[in-house]
Amino acid sequence: MTILAVLIGTLIFAVLAPILGCLLAGLDRKISARMQGRVGPPLLQPYYDVRKLIEKDDVAVNGTERVYIICALVFTLIAGGIFVSGGNLLMCIFVLTLGALFFILAAYCTSSPYAQVGASRETLQVMSYEPMVLFMAVAFFMAVQAILGMGSFDVRAVLYLDVPVITNIWLVFLGFLFVLTIKLRKSPFDLSYSHHAHQEIVKGVTTEMSGKTLAMVEVMHWCENVLFMLWVALFFVWGNPASIILALVVVAVVYFFEIWIDNNFARVKWQTMLTSAWVVALVAGGINIAFLAYL
């Protein structure tokens, strides 16, 4: 029964993803600090931050914001659960988008000028990366079809492959790396909400969130990041158990690369983000999918 599998997957994801995501975030800050010639915070700093936020007083602009954030967190976890249980990749993407929508609504509902500017930028970011993410799923299906002879959107299909899907869709992978920067909210695409201090819209989407609500947002981001890394790993896993090691190495390299970009590029304007993300999607996704379809 798939529903049961998704439920179990969600539970597993809800336990493991925050732990892994927290460590990943700690590593991120540590490496960023080293790139800037600093020592940086302890590895568990993100964990301390969240614990502190939970201890803070309970304050909110309205009663609705937290409901939306809880929804966003829950749907992110379910998206992870769908992936972990080997379920449908498209479903995973759609449910994650639903989570993103609730995150946006949480910011909009506060009627705060800064949060609302952040929310509209976040909406624009979703529009920018969505085509490439859909292409990723489609390319995955076609690559599985090219290798197995029968297409599938199911994540578990990778276990039956002789070669990883990256062999067929490396161009899509490159395109996906591009939009991954937007999804990870890394500079140059951290328009809506940046972890760097001092930006023109204060803290963008999260401006009005505090205490437990903000803690949930942090946990949600950890889980999202883990899920994105799982997507990256999906390109490199095949029937051989040893491939998991390869996938882990690739994930590490990809994340390091994203940190490097974050520290080396200044934020761009939304026009640049939208047009570049769409052009990349059209070229990388379009060409690769056309190749798979016609050759």
């Binding site: 798939t2 529903i3 309970d58 304050v59 909110a60 602009v61 309205n62 009663g63 609705t64 937290r66 409901v67 929804c71 449908n88 498209l90 479903m91 759609f94 449910v95 988008t97 639903l98 929508l101 946006i104 609504l105 909009y108 509902c109 506060t110 009627s111 705060s112 000028p113 949060a115 609302q116 929310a119 509209s120 909406t123 624009l124 979703v126 529009m127 920018s128 969505e130 085509p131 859909l134 292409f135 489609v138 299906f141 076609m142 297409g151 959107f153 204060v202 401006t207 009005e208 505090s210 026009q271 939208l274 047009t275 999607a281 059209l282 996704g285 379009g286 999918i289 056309a290 379809a293």
Partner: protein, 645 residues
Amino acid sequence: MATLGMLWFLILFPLVVAVVLLAVRNNQARNVIVVASAIVIGLASLFLVAANLGVDYWKPIPMASPLVVDIICMVLGVAIAAVILYFGIKYKNTLACVLAAVQVVGSLVFELMFAHNVEVTECLYLDSLSLLMAFIIGIVGSGICVYALGYMEDFQAHQPEGAKDRRPVFFALMFVFLSAMFVIIFSNNMMWMFTGWEVTTVCSFLLIGYTRTEESLNNAFRQIVMNLIGGIAFLVALYVMAIEMGTLSLLEFLQLGIMYPEMVALPACALALAGITKAAQMPFHTWLLGAMVAPTPTSALLHSSTMVKAGVFLLIKLAPIFYLSQIPSVMVILVGGITFVLCSFMAISQSNAKRVLAYSTIANLGLIVACAGVGTPEAVWAACFLILFHAIAKSLLFLCVGTAEHHIGSRDIEDMDQLFQRMPKLARFMMLGIMVMFIAPFGMLIAKWATLVSFVEMRQVALIVMLAFGSAATFFFWGKWLGKLSAIAAEPDNVELSVHKSEWGSLLLMVVLAILSCACLPLISQAVVDPYIQSVYGTRAADIQFTNQLLAALLAIVVIIVLFAGVGKQNKSKQAQVYLAGYSANNEQRVFKNSLSGTTEATMRNWYLEGIFGETRIRPVGEWVCGIIIAAAIIISAFGTSVIF
């Protein structure tokens, strides 16, 4: 025999009601009649659906074409032309007159010279797609009629003093519309279908021009000209069918088409053109945008359950032919796909709520058209669900916008700030409608998902690309609207207390339908859509596994519960102010002290990205490309490829 009676009842009863309404001038009496007959029509269509649930074959109703009906068709054809000519001459629109004249002469010649030789033995039929449509027309359509009661009362009150009360005509036309739609979906005899087709055209002409202002007349004429082109294309198809194929039966035409796909290329193209004009695809999309000047119930009726749905209904019926016949298929796929992506883009640049809805309608119809063009069982499955969810969600949204317009005095999305508090129930209904339109796990997106899968399986690369970009744009324009609605600030006055009961009734009906259809998606698939696929293709469509449908339905229920029970409540957190950089003058109202020692209210306008997605940039591209595609397809199918090469 019982079924035959039901069909005739559904076709004739609204006509009787229309005649009665024409005579009734008393408001009270009209309210009673409309509500009662809407309930009767709704129940009758429900009964029809229930009695025939799961019918997985083409269920013909044996009945030779009675001569009297043929004569009625002819008389109606002449009457329609007379109406158009009357208005065309009165308002000096030559093009409409010429087209109407061409059409009436063409159809008279056809009926007197050719149609008599062709005998159609089964004039009416029933299959699961007709049932689905009957459900939409009977429930959603009559729900809109009920809504119109309260709306038109307010509308009349807003009219200048001494304006003529033409509401009897308005309501009569609404019911004639329903009747004509029932004719279209139940007719096997293409002649009858054509008559229904033309009746919807002229009804919407009269409804759009209802206010008789210059703007509304211009738009009404644009509608009639475009749809007359479609009507003439339909007539061309009838000529070819009668002369070359010797049949006027839809079933026989489809069977012949599947056997000899090359032979039916021309009639298929012509019928597709008729469907495309009616479904307001580019380059004919402007008539639907213009139709926005009409009172909102008209827009709701045209957009959700009738008129445009007639166009896509015909195209879905033809899907098996598109599956095999290349030229019409390419034309329909490209026109639908391009319309979907470009109209989704243009919706971003609109701030008028009704125009956003209009562009979204055209875009979604484009998707349905593209699905029909692909023609695989999976694509048709997706198209059926797109029709269902679109009808429900769109009528809900139109009714919401109409009610909001009468109570906040604007249909501009920018004026819908904090609707969440000003009209708490209505805003939630609107949010539900918007969510059903664009986000998983709700119906529209599940259908889009199936669409994507079917495109992938058919290796339609161009369509995949268009779907991906169009969907991204869809997220943006719905998302920003949703954000506008959801904002919460100081407690403004609740202005929804004066909404009419009839409006609440219809709104509630649409909400219940939307919730039920999303929650029961797997059941609808099993009971209605799968049987239709079975009846046409002999297989079942298995794009989205049952368990995934179930999962989506479960998630949808969760979101609906959150929307209606979770949000908008006070929790035990301490009330905080919003951050205004430390310079609040009145934090509740988001007013801050500005640099001139005065005060300014912080307000947020949406993004329209004019420079990228503006109408002036995109519209000509779409119109030219789609126009050329249609012209090329028809020329090639009429004269063979030799003309080109």
